[in-house]
Subunit: 499 residues, 2 copies
């Protein structure tokens, strides 16, 4: 997205020390562009673009950095008042599977690793394990622990006497397959040639993720049945998927701000993020390792995502129409306070997470569907040994042109059949009214299809109204007390939950 000339060595002023020091990587294109209009007569002054200057400077700095010095850039990024959901990861353990995992859409990982962290103690009966699942971009570091004392993304939620009580439960959290915080993903080396998979990484699904997690649970902890599987957002998908894949190996399921199948609006929002990222020339079709990463595309993708994570009313109260500096004239670069907030959120994330992981994990979310047809097709594909031809549909846009498209009603019936597989389980579904990424009707849908199946499971639905939380999709990270009470009651078997 920046001018691509940043790697070119261009002439520099021999007398300028500043230029000299940075000359190796400085492009003069920016200066040329500025000069092109500075000398000519103009009815109004040329607008300035400090936001682009900043991105170009960053690009130049990254061009000069060796891979090892990139970490310094990460640490010197601006920080702000937002709760950080992802971390430069350390202190996790690794489960290494020498067995291959065959994937829902025909791919294979000949071997793989899953990063994980734990809190609390596994009891002697091995029946107190709670597996918590992360959202898209989070690591296994849900809470501080001796090997990584930084606060985790659910720091206040987990601990002795807390909503996930480490006095009672043994808590395990993994980095998902496809991620970049220790588990095998696109940035990992393909054992076939020792080079990063990049976009040779196979398409994965949420169900693939939980099947990898289950190998960890069995092999590292020798646990045959987990007490609960708990997660929010994509973690809410994983919670349901784990029960779906292994209904006899889960006692209770908690799915927060998730869904039982991704809906087109959520797919559309993730589509925009992927397309923006893939359009960054530095993305280079996924082969950017050892080069300048697509930090601009990542920043923009994160800005779009951030819009979907919160709610309008929160920003109304928090930012209103206030500008970052109302004494200055308006600008096309970030100007209103809400813009500088988004800019900051994007900037903070753009080097923290691997771009290819974002693409693959985001795609896995789109593909999530516990309907009968989708899961049957996946099982069939995994079982077959057919070599996959990984191409995309070249056909032009045509509405409902396929013979096997489903109407809304057919699709819902398909979901009912698929979900009946877990309708005998105890399942708590939590929804947040102010969530626009996973609107509450999607959580209601989970609860409704489970209840309608009438198979004896304790199906509970708990909704946080706009009067309780206006944090939107991020509520599970911010309104711990509001989501914690019904979850603790459900997990610990108390009655009287308002549902």
């Amino acid at each position: 997205m920046l001018r691509a000339g940043v790697k070119r060595v261009l002439a520099y002023k021999p007398n300028s020390n500043t230029y000299k020091a940075l000359s190796k990587c400085y492009s003069t294109e920016r200066n040329i562009a500025a000069k092109s209009s500075s000398k000519i007569v103009s009815s109004n002054p040329q607008l300035l673009f400090p936001c682009l200057d900043k991105l170009e400077k960053k690009n130049e700095q990254l061009s000069c950095s060796t891979p090892s010095s990139n970490n310094e850039n990460i640490n010197t990024l601006e920080t702000g008042p937002e709760p950080s959901y992802s971390f430069v990861q350390t202190g996790f353990k690794i489960f290494h599977s020498k067995q291959p995992i065959h994937l829902d859409h025909g791919g294979v990982l000949p071997e793989y690793e899953i990063a994980y962290e734990t809190w609390g103690q596994l009891n002697s009966k091995r029946d107190n394990l709670i597996l918590i699942h992360t959202g898209l971009s989070a690591s296994s570091h849900a809470k501080s622990q001796p090997n990584n004392t930084k606060n985790g993304w659910w720091e206040g939620f987990i601990g002795p006497g807390k909503y996930l009580d480490t006095n009672k439960y043994f808590i395990v959290c993994t980095n998902v397959l496809g991620g970049c915080y220790g588990s095998t993903g696109p940035s990992s080396k393909d054992p076939a040639d020792g080079k990063p998979y990049a976009t040779r990484f196979p398409i994965i699904t949420v169900n693939d993720m939980v099947r990898a997690q289950r190998e960890l649970i069995k092999n590292c902890f020798n646990v045959s049945k987990v007490w609960a599987t708990v997660g929010a957002s994509m973690g809410g998908m994983q919670s349901l998927a784990y029960a779906w894949e292994f209904p006899d190996e889960v006692e209770k399921v908690v799915s927060i701000s998730g869904c039982s199948r991704s809906h087109p609006y959520s797919i559309a929002l993730r589509h925009c993020q992927r397309q923006v990222l893939m359009s960054d020339p530095n993305w280079n079709r996924g082969f950017y390792y050892g080069k300048v990463p697509p930090h601009v595309g990542m920043k923009l993708a994160r800005e779009i995502a951030t819009v979907t994570y919160r709610s309008g009313p929160e920003w109304e109260y928090r930012f209103g129409r206030n500008r970052a500096d109302s004494s200055r004239p308006p600008a096309l670069c970030p100007d209103f306070l809400v813009e500088t907030y988004l800019d900051h959120a994007g900037e903070k994330f753009c080097l923290e997470y691997d771009a290819n992981s974002l693409l693959y994990v985001s795609k896995a979310m789109d593909l999530f569907d516990l309907g009968e047809q989708n899961r049957a097709r996946a099982a069939h594909t995994r079982a077959s040994t057919t070599t996959r031809s990984e191409t995309v549909p070249p056909i032009p846009y045509e509405e409902k042109s396929n013979s096997d498209t489903l109407s809304a009603e057919e699709s819902l019936n398909d979901l009912r059949r698929g979900m009946s597989r877990i309708a005998h389980k105890d399942i708590l579904v939590v929804g947040v009214e102010s969530d626009i990424l996973f609107p509450v009707w999607q959580q209601r849908e989970i609860a409704d299809v489970l209840k309608d199946a009438n198979k004896g499971g304790d199906i509970r639905y708990f909704e946080l109204g706009n009067d309780v939380s206006n944090y939107g999709h991020d509520t599970f990270l911010l309104s711990l007390d509001h989501i914690g009470v019904p979850i603790k009651d459900f997990l610990e078997g108390n009655s009287g939950v308002k549902s």
Copy 2:
């Protein structure tokens, strides 16, 4: 966003006719990228990216095109089932002002043109003129007319006996100041040097737009008071702004799916579009005229916009989880039907509208605020002759750090004071429950502050529930009968409007 090497002439196979014919503009970088992984051993096949191939090919074609042949590219773009809201414009008339217009934020246009079209006849009393206002990207072509027989964007809404009845009213529609369909905008030549303004164009506001329209109304039609000012989306802003600027020159006001001040969520959504567009290297800080335009950035910006124009429930019914071709494996390029729809919407728009116009007009929407403080500041700036220094806030993100930030309550009170200026007028506000870009609470806000002022105006509020329209923000283009009835009643003085 594409590799920037497309203009380079690279070596080609001398024996290949295909290569030979296209060699002038073909980059081999794509082939290099593909080859880099095709020969090595890999656990899974490399993903393909036909969507990027297509963009690169388009870039190459545009590099080869002369400006005049660009029009052919526009005409050969795919077409689809969507109602087109913008057109390659022809058949409009021009109002040319030799007088300068001084702008709200200190800029000036030494002279300017406003493109307009009309339908119906101005009566002898000159009191039947209805001025309709466009949304962000529309032209003056609201309806077919002898000089342009193509359907307009409100074709079914305007005509003899229709909701805007040309038997009774003389309808005028303009292309907004800052646009690219005949009115003066960033693509126009700066009289100071005869070169396109580009980003030397001054920041404009919605109030600036209507002050330019008023010169047209006075000078071309000698009308001292318009019967009504009618518009949706940004047009709904203009409707209110026209009355605000000239309260004695408007009889009735209709504002559909608009607001009285832009709220942070809408600003955030437009911010993302602008940043994505400005990150396209072809944008070149606005100086792309005569070069390859930033078609990729425009496409992506339009895709994001399209997500905000419709509603989740509509897509649920229309696309569901259907894929464009379910026989193929999933892909990171457009794959689900909703993705191919967005891709198509972006593709259709990316060469139809000027990128700089999108930035400036989108920014004008952000700046819209009929609160007292904002309008007083604008009036002061216009009146002063101070030379503006066009810079953006370089300060880092900091929440509510300014001394003159307003709390939500202060801001609402400021709006009440500002809006009291038009509260004696007859004003119809229309909102659509499924709109996420301009949520109904923003239309309710308009009606509430006007009613609360209690100044004798006939203030009506009409809301279309989800049971009536799930077209979201686009409802005004698609549910003509639902929005038409209350508007016709209001304009023609009938009673009994459900409000």
